[in-house]
């Protein structure tokens, strides 16, 4: 109970892992490409949560990696958000092109390299 009421880095990691798993399940099982892309966003967010939690952890640690300037995790999460934006733009662009040609958004119907 004590560990429940005292929020440590591990709590955030477990939450991140749970979100990651949800994202993985979504990517592997859904047919709708849009929802698959959203699941990928979930995965990226889970990673971000871990990074920021670790950044907080290292800020409280002494030593070379620790200290007030230990914001590398946050910087990384910003890069990941940038990547997510790029991924969403290109992914949705492909989706539009695909939908225009096949009139479907089901991922298991994307079985040809060319049409």
């Amino acid at each position: 109970m004590e560990s429940m009421l005292h929020i440590t880095t591990l709590h955030y990691l477990v939450l991140g892992a749970a979100l990651f798993l949800l994202g993985v399940i979504g990517v592997l099982t859904r047919r709708n490409v849009v929802i698959v892309l959203m699941s990928i966003e979930l995965i990226l967010n889970a990673v971000n949560l871990n990074l920021v939690a670790f950044s907080r952890y290292w800020q409280g640690m002494p030593g070379h990696f620790g200290g007030p300037m230990a914001l590398h995790g946050q910087v990384f999460s910003i890069f990941i958000i940038t990547d997510a934006a790029a991924e969403a733009a290109v992914g949705l662009g492909i989706l539009i092109a695909f939908f225009r040609n096949k009139e479907t958004v089901n991922v298991d119907e994307v079985n040809l390299l060319k049409w």
Binding site: I96, F99, R100, E103
Partner: protein, 383 residues
């Protein structure tokens, strides 16, 4: 999404392959829509915001005016014509009275002619003011509406003083006028001319050089002169396309040949040119009114017309330049007191046909601007 082809009988020359075919949108604009000026229904086929084609559905205001005429005497039918283009009732009355006079071979006396011209031209100004206000409102400028209505009120006051009605005036009678002009009529008209001249400048100040107005109207709803002629378009819409055709000059009726005025024309035939043409027309109408009020002769106001009007067997077509274009009356008489058939050529109805040509390839917002610039009145379209 419904298949657009089953929804409406749109006959379109194959448009280019659209961006997302599955999402071609069919929008039903009207009959209850704030910008269709009454009960016009427009079925729009859109690709995104681009208009691929449209179809007008009319008839929601059909009252069978032409059929009613067959059961009324010539005199009794006179008030009905006011209800067609109800914002330019005086012009309708003038057209009808002159047509019947032509059929009877009588001519209204000179004094009546002058008063008729004054009232008709005032009505032209009122009609254009109403058009300007609503057109600007459609494009998003709300203020001109109130300015034009404030000034149109002065014209309606003159009408009210003259014949007791403001909108459906029934001002003219077959063979001349029923009422002599009231005391101070000339003064009122002169005052009005002086009052409204700076007001027209005021409208122009708000709109003519407004950047947004220019962007919204220039190059929008273009129709070329030959196209306009082919579609039978008349009035300011035709003149803005560069065709100098005004029945007041081309086939003078009433006593318009006595007056000195100019026919404004545009070049490009877009919405902005139509706006400019109508603005100049308002000023020209003021010129005519000024000349007419100076030159009103004394004399009778009613020609000798029999009590019971029974024209000889025959037919007649007479047209005048209504504010919206050529307003024609085709009357067939079988010698009885009632017309055998009356057919009206309403300018709005004919001009409305040009809507499709003018809107293709434009955006939805332009459709609104073009409907506004055509200056249609549904009472006249549907009759």
């Amino acid at each position: 999404m419904t298949d657009p082809n089953t929804l409406s009988p749109l006959d379109l020359d194959t448009p280019d392959k659209t961006f997302l075919d599955a999402n071609e949108l069919v929008i039903n604009m009207g009959p209850q829509h704030p910008a269709t000026h009454g009960v016009l229904r427009v079925i729009l086929r859109l690709d995104g915001e681009k208009v691929m084609g449209l179809e007008c559905v009319i008839g929601y205001l059909h009252r069978g005016v032409e059929k009613i005429a067959e059961n009324r005497t010539y005199t009794m039918f006179n008030p009905y014509v006011d209800r067609m283009d109800y914002v330019a009732a005086v012009s309708n009355g003038l057209g009808y009275c002159e047509a019947v006079e032509k059929l009877l071979n009588v001519e209204a006396p000179a004094r009546a002619q002058y008063i008729r011209v004054i009232l008709t031209e005032l009505n032209r100004i009122a009609s254009h003011q109403l058009w300007l206000g609503t057109h600007a409102l459609d494009i998003g400028a709300i203020t001109p509406l109130f300015y034009t209505f404030r000034d149109r009120e002065e014209i309606l006051k003159i009408f009210e003083k003259y014949c007791g009605a403001r909108l459906t005036t029934h001002a003219f009678r077959i063979g001349g006028l029923q009422y002599e002009s009231y005391d101070g009529f000339e003064k009122d008209v002169r005052n009005f001319v002086n009052f409204v001249k700076p007001k027209i400048d005021e409208y122009e100040e708000l709109l003519t050089t407004n950047r947004i107005w220019l962007e919204r109207t220039k190059g929008v709803g273009v129709i070329s002169g030959p196209d306009a002629i082919a579609l039978g378009v008349t009035g300011p819409v035709l003149r803005a396309s560069g065709v100098k055709w005004d029945i007041r000059k081309a086939l003078p009726y009433a006593n318009y040949k006595n007056f000195d005025f100019e026919i404004p024309t545009g070049q490009s035939g877009d919405t902005y040119d139509r706006y400019l043409v109508r603005m100049v027309e308002m000023r020209q109408s003021l010129r005519i009114v000024e000349q007419a009020v100076e030159g009103i002769p004394e004399g009778p106001i009613m020609a000798k017309v029999p009590k019971v009007i029974k024209p000889a067997v025959g037919e007649i077509y007479h047209s005048i330049e209504a504010p919206k274009g050529e307003l024609g009356y085709f009357i067939v008489s079988d010698g009885s007191t009632q017309p055998y058939r009356i057919r009206v050529r309403p300018p709005s109805f004919v001009n409305l046909q040009a809507l499709d040509v003018m809107c293709r390839g434009q955006l939805v917002a332009d459709v609104i601007a073009v409907i506004g610039t055509l200056d249609i009145v549904l009472g006249e379209v549907d009759r």
